[in-house]
Amino acid sequence: MTLLLKQLFNFIRLLHSENGTYQIVWGLTLGAFLGFSPFFSLQTFLILAILLIFKIQFGAAFLSSFFFKFIAYLFDPAADLLGRWVLELPNLRSVWTALYNMPIIPYTRFNNSIVMGSFVFVLLISPILFLGFKTIIIRYRTHIVHRFEQTKAWKAFKATKFYEWYMKYDDLYGTK
């Protein structure tokens, strides 16, 4: 829990810094994959491995996966229909049969209509999500954060000793 909270604080800090845009965007996008995948499946572990190996923002991924879990829940009936359509395509039948008989691959549970439908859906929308998240973050930083920093309340807060001490602490021990 502490680790998760730390990641979320890092996410907020990173969001308000001028760096790490792609770290956040990738985190949010891969989080969408996590949200649309069943928890105990191969793809979940693959995404977690990517998150671990590459410098992708964990907090963003977890937040996004939490959000998209709800979306996926509501999307289930549609995912079911989409998955059925994909899995029943005659042209792809040989591909599915081959995958079904391969080692490891069946752990993805690709042969389930909802898993397949959700995966296809998230795969299709992932470029849109990526670009969308990127735009939102940039706009957030340039418009909302900038406007907030111009407020008198923030300026007053920045002038306090507490803020000064916090900044010092963040410089010394803060992590990304």
Partner: protein, 653 residues
């Protein structure tokens, strides 16, 4: 919030995570390289002890993850009855795990090799044996209990350990009359008969009174006199008719009152007659029970061949059934609940409806099944090759065999589990071993069958009977054994055993000379005999049969002598019982006969007389009514004729 710029260029790889991950992998590798085998060895020893209840030792456990290879050397399973010996020792078990299946999270072994099999080998130190578990009171009767409870009836069970003593003491029992002299006080039937005699004597007196309450001849004659005195024709006025009918009705009511008394008496008589029959049945039961009790007291030995066989071979067969019970308990413990319930003789429990509040289940979708071109069940050992050969150093059993398709899902592979082993144990003088077993779970109802044959083995110092009155031992014999069995759904069983004893020489001793002589004469001429046993039926109600040609031969030898004595005893007992109870019984007979026949006929006679009187009264009433009707009719005709005549006159005709 910060806007502090941090322009330090960083790569995309999270090195801070890679290092711990690498360390973790290295530690895992080191564990499997240095500790895993030792832990597996301990795990097998611990699990084996827990499962089998006796110490299991593993000499060495070697595994290779890259090759998927496992080798277990020197597996020793302690003999629970003789902890200084191993019940089974395996020199080596080797197998390769199928990686393709493992990647699908399935455990598949294509071929396992078991070598160097020894039975009853000596241990370096006695093995640990777990104390027997406390008996489960909810458990059904075991095979052993059923063998002892059903194969042998009560009398034989009580004396089965001492059949020689029973025969001897029975044969030498002298004056039976003297022994029967003091039975008087112990006969329950006599007491019951006396009670019944008193009861029915009192009843008879009561009935004498009851019969006096019935209408007498005088009462019936008075009804007749009253009846004759009532007018029933030639009525002159309707008033006369009405008066007659009233008199008839009054008479009928009086008769009815008497009829009611008779009916009540008759009903009481019927219920007493029924009570007499019940009392007779009770008395007969008591007489039978007394006769059986006396026979038990005289220890009349069972004379048929079957009972002889059961008495002789009970102690020989019991270890087999104890082993059967042991394996049944083990199977119940470790089989999946579906099968262990079958072994309990219970039906599969249907799942109860879950009535707790459930969260809305997430849509499950449809899981498509594509053609399985290379699928495995969860657990599958395709072959276990048994090859064990003696060598100059160690006398292993010479065994060859194949166990095929031990699997968690026979339906998926479409094959049943089979075992086919043959061979010999030279050092133990056991040859011609052939064992076949099959377990089929492909069909909806699982079935299993087995057939174990041992062509020849030696038995030493077999005690058939060993008691203070004598013993029958077989110091040495050459035997063959065939055990076959099958079960359907682990519910009904059919197990048979045929044991041939050859080159037998009996060692006999009996206290009583007559018994000793008969046994010597009979058994010295028997070089071979057989023993056959069968267990059939549902697990909680098995039909157990034991027979032996030896039993038949002993029956023949003792038969005439014992039968004569038995007949004598039976006759004496019958005579004694008749003497003790017969007189009272005849008294009861005379009392009850009077109630049944004499009083019955009296009641019926009175009832008939009253009924006929009642019927006559009814007929007279009807006749009186008809008479009045006729008279009224003729009167109306006369009156009508007169009116017509008067009218004619008035009109001047």
């Amino acid at each position: 919030m910060t806007t502090t710029p941090k322009n330090k260029k960083t790569g995309i790889i999270r090195w801070s995570a890679i290092v711990p991950l690498t360390v973790l992998i290295v530690i895992t590798y080191a564990y499997f390289a240095f500790f895993f085998d030792g832990h597996m060895k301990s795990l097998i020893e611990w699990g084996g002890y827990k499962a089998l209840g006796s110490e299991v030792n593993v000499g060495q456990f070697k595994s290779s993850f890259t090759g998927g290879h496992v080798e277990i050397n020197k597996i020793e399973i302690t003999n629970a009855e003789q902890p200084q010996l191993n019940s089974l020792e395996l020199q080596s078990v080797r197998f390769n795990i199928n990686w393709d299946a493992l990647l699908r999270l399935k455990f598949v072994v294509e071929e396992m090799a078991a070598e160097g099999i020894q039975l009853n080998s000596k241990r370096s130190r006695p093995g640990k044996v777990a104390p027997p578990p406390p008996p489960d009171i909810n458990e059904g009767p075991s095979f052993t209990e059923q063998l002892q409870g059903k194969a042998v009836d009560k009398i034989t069970k009580d004396y089965s350990d001492n059949v020689l003593g029973d025969i001897a003491s029975f044969l030498k029992s002298g004056d039976l009359n003297a022994q029967l002299k003091n039975i008087e006080g112990t006969l329950e039937a006599k007491k019951v008969a006396e009670d019944l005699n008193k009861k029915w004597t009192d009843k008879k007196q009561q009935w004498d009174q009851n019969i006096k309450q019935l209408p007498t001849e005088k009462d019936i004659n008075s009804f007749k006199t009253r009846f004759e005195g009532i007018q029933y024709k030639n009525f002159k006025t309707p008033q006369e008719v009405e008066s007659a009918v009233n008199q008839f009705n009054a008479l009928k009511k009086d008769v009815d009152d008497k009829v009611k008394i008779v009916e009540t008496t008759k009903n009481n008589l019927v219920s007493d007659v029924q009570a007499i029959q019940t009392d007779y049945q009770l008395l007969d039961q008591k007489i039978k029970s007394d006769i059986n009790g006396l026979k038990t007291r005289f220890k009349i030995p069972q004379l048929n061949a079957g009972q002889f066989a059961k008495s002789l071979f009970m102690s020989y067969l019991t270890p087999y059934t104890i082993k059967l019970d042991h394996y049944k308990k083990m199977a119940q413990k470790y089989l999946p609940p579906k099968y262990s319930q079958m072994l309990d003789g219970k039906k599969n429990k249907t799942e109860k409806d879950d009535d707790t509040i459930q969260p809305h289940p997430r849509e499950k979708g449809v899981t498509y099944e594509f053609p399985v071109e290379k699928g495995y069940p969860l657990f599958w050992i395709q072959k276990i090759k048994i090859s064990s050969q003696s060598n100059a150093q160690t006398d292993f059993g010479d065994l060859t065999g194949l166990i095929q398709n031990i699997t968690s899902n026979q339906r998926q592979i479409g094959k049943q589990t089979t075992l086919d082993v043959s061979g010999q144990f030279k050092s133990m003088n056991i040859s011609g071993i052939k064992a076949f077993a099959a377990f089929n779970n492909i069909q909806p109802t699982p079935s299993a069958q087995f057939n174990v044959q041992v062509g020849q083995y030696g038995l030493q110092n077999l005690d058939l009977i060993n008691s203070a009155d004598g013993s029958i031992k077989i110091p040495q014999s050459r035997n063959s054994l065939l055990i076959a069995g099958s079960t359907l759904g682990f519910k009904s069983y059919d197990i048979s055993l045929k044991n041939d004893f050859k080159d037998v020489k009996f060692d006999i001793s009996a206290k009583e000379k007559i018994v000793n002589d008969i046994l010597q004469q009979t058994l010295s001429t028997i070089p071979s005999f057989d023993l056959q046993a069968s267990i059939k039926g549902e697990i909680k109600n098995l039909d157990v049969q034991v027979s032996s040609s030896l039993g038949g031969q002993l029956e023949k030898a003792f038969g005439q002598l014992l039968q004569k004595k038995v007949d004598e005893v039976n006759a004496q007992i019958k005579e004694r019982i008749d003497k003790e109870i017969g007189q009272i019984k005849s008294q009861i007979d005379s009392q009850t006969l009077a109630i049944k026949n004499q009083y019955g006929s009296e009641v019926t006679k009175v009832q008939n007389q009253l009924e006929s009187q009642k019927k006559l009264a009814d007929d007279r009433i009807q006749q009186a009514k008809k008479d009045l009707e006729n008279q009224a009719k003729s009167k109306i005709q006369q009156e009508g004729q007169k009116a017509v005549d008067d009218l004619k006159k008035k009109l001047g005709f």
